[in-house]
Symmetry: C2
Subunit: 330 residues, 2 copies
């Protein structure tokens, strides 16, 4: 299955407030350097008053500028995030509102596969464009993790960050040659609770008198995630490569979810990803849930690390536990 | 755009606990009969200990049985709900887990457009099936509103209910003739906060010391929703009919979101929907967010109100404010 779509433009938004690991280490009573050694993060951005929809709208404005398009060129806005401003309404309609387009009628809906939301949305949207339903679709991923950090869980509290990225996906012409050549997703719910924010929905409701503040924060079982991920990833990647008719050496860029330093290092070693191929923004962004992959893609493209016609692989794991990957000709 | 898909089977789950309007009226100090007069609801079901994923899995089991399929026949599970068990992980992977299929690898991801989630998912999934990516996909909608009721807001507290429905969507053969012949969505975020549960995400975090219990409950501005909906619906429905090349008289069933008694009555009158066409389960289910439409469809099919080849329209509004509709040959 080949879908003839291209990324017409991308945008990124980072909250103004920069939080160094030194600052976090002091706050959490950790020894100097603990964060970088264990999580691989030197600095990350945390929101002050920015919301998911605010950051998403700013990223989308930049993506439209990059694509040389106006809001009116968009046929749909897809929110693709693991976090959200409000349980109801959903993210993408609020992004439309933040764009001052509240009477536009542009259809908005969300896709959620936690950290893989952008990858899932890119795949799904490509079918809608290939079939001619839409011409230009915005995928907006905007994540705030800083409000849900558990400062007693140092691994995740020093790892996570906030940020947003947006991409405009458009129909490509045969001359352009941009296309998605492979995509795959697998979910193994044995690992469903390896990453969680358990409270905030119906099971542990905020008004539940038995709930406690820790219920509403991140919980990550890093070792269990890594074990399961690297048990499944070799076969998964092989399937994705066969489907896409590529080998590792054919890929100009490999952009893994910035799950953790150890995860990225293991992926590099296990699959023989070179430094030239690997895009790694963990040290100065942290793990920004689903925004990590599109932010890394944005920066790599801005830095000229891939040109039209090059093959790029986005790959990662998410809460679920899900594995997801997509290979496309940029 | 015509997508050749069919509903192979459906299932429904209602929580065991039946809550009469009499019970609610006593609890809320309302006069006898207030609920039915104002919200149109005589009785609804509320969960005891059931979760969204538990109800969804039971509905999916019944849908598989109805389709004469096994779990292994499914290529993907799409969660399509406005409410959720946990902020992370997402609904569909937990439904997989509840099906005792935690090592199956079946891809799971969620779509959210609040009350229109099932309609959006049906449309999106039809493109994935038409293109041959998947053969059989489960869409599972499972909603719990009862944990987030604000008993000081009598309009919504007497209106909402809990429940779940699942549908198996499959490729149809030319002989079968089942297909989606039209679909449309529009989002007008001017009405984004006409329906909301504002607290529970990043904007009003459960651990925010300034939050209060009301923040984590439903707020509905019924009159504003109706005004905006009926300002937009006539043009919207006309576009959907033109695209689908049908008129109202061609439709065997019209299944509106069970938003409110007044909304359904106004739709009936404005668009000339006959009693034979209209499916209305509000009185004994309440408004079950995105589960209302597929539960009503399930019951109408069970009751023999449509046969293969008949044309059915699903239509509604959701938080967003979004309008969505789909017309298909069953």
């Amino acid at each position: 299955m080949v879908n003839h779509v291209k990324i017409s433009g991308m945008g990124k938004y980072l909250p103004e407030r920069l939080v160094t690991s030194e600052e976090l280490e002091k706050k959490m009573g950790l020894t100097a350097g603990w964060s970088y050694t264990h999580s691989g993060v030197k600095e990350r951005h945390f929101v002050n008053n920015e919301t998911c929809s605010f950051m998403g709208a700013r990223a989308l404005e930049l993506a439209l500028k990059d694509a040389n398009m106006k809001y009116e060129d968009l046929d749909a806005i897809i929110g693709a995030s693991g976090s959200f401003d409000h349980p109801i309404p959903y993210n993408s309609c609020l992004i439309q509102k933040e764009m001052d387009q509240e009477n536009s009628g542009t259809p908005c809906w969300d896709i959620d596969s936690t950290c893989l939301s952008f990858v899932t949305a890119f795949d799904v949207v490509s079918y809608l464009i290939e079939a001619g339903k839409y011409k230009n679709v915005a995928i907006v991923t905007s994540e705030i993790s800083s409000k849900s950090l558990n400062y007693n869980e140092k691994e995740s509290a020093t790892l996570l960050g906030d940020g947003a990225a947006a991409a405009i996906i458009s129909k490509s012409t045969p001359e352009e040659g941009s296309m998605i050549i492979g995509s795959l997703m697998e979910t193994y719910s044995r690992g469903a609770f390896y990453t969680s924010v358990k409270g905030g929905g119906n099971t542990i409701h905020p008004n539940d008198p038995d709930s406690n503040p820790d219920d509403f924060t991140f919980n990550m079982k890093g070792r269990a995630i890594l074990e399961m991920a690297f048990d499944k990833l070799p076969t998964f990647l092989k399937k994705l490569f066969v489907q896409s008719q590529v080998e590792m050496k054919d890929l100009t860029l490999v952009i893994p979810h910035q799950a953790s330093k150890l995860g990225i290092d293991m992926a590099k070693q296990t699959f023989g990803i070179t430094d030239t191929q690997l895009v790694n923004n963990l040290a100065n962004h942290g793990n920004c849930i689903a925004a990590s992959i599109p932010m890394a893609l944005h920066d790599a493209l801005r830095d000229g690390r891939a040109k039209r016609g090059d093959k790029i692989c986005l790959i990662g794991t998410s809460a679920g536990l899900s594995l997801g990957g997509i290979i496309f000709v940029y």
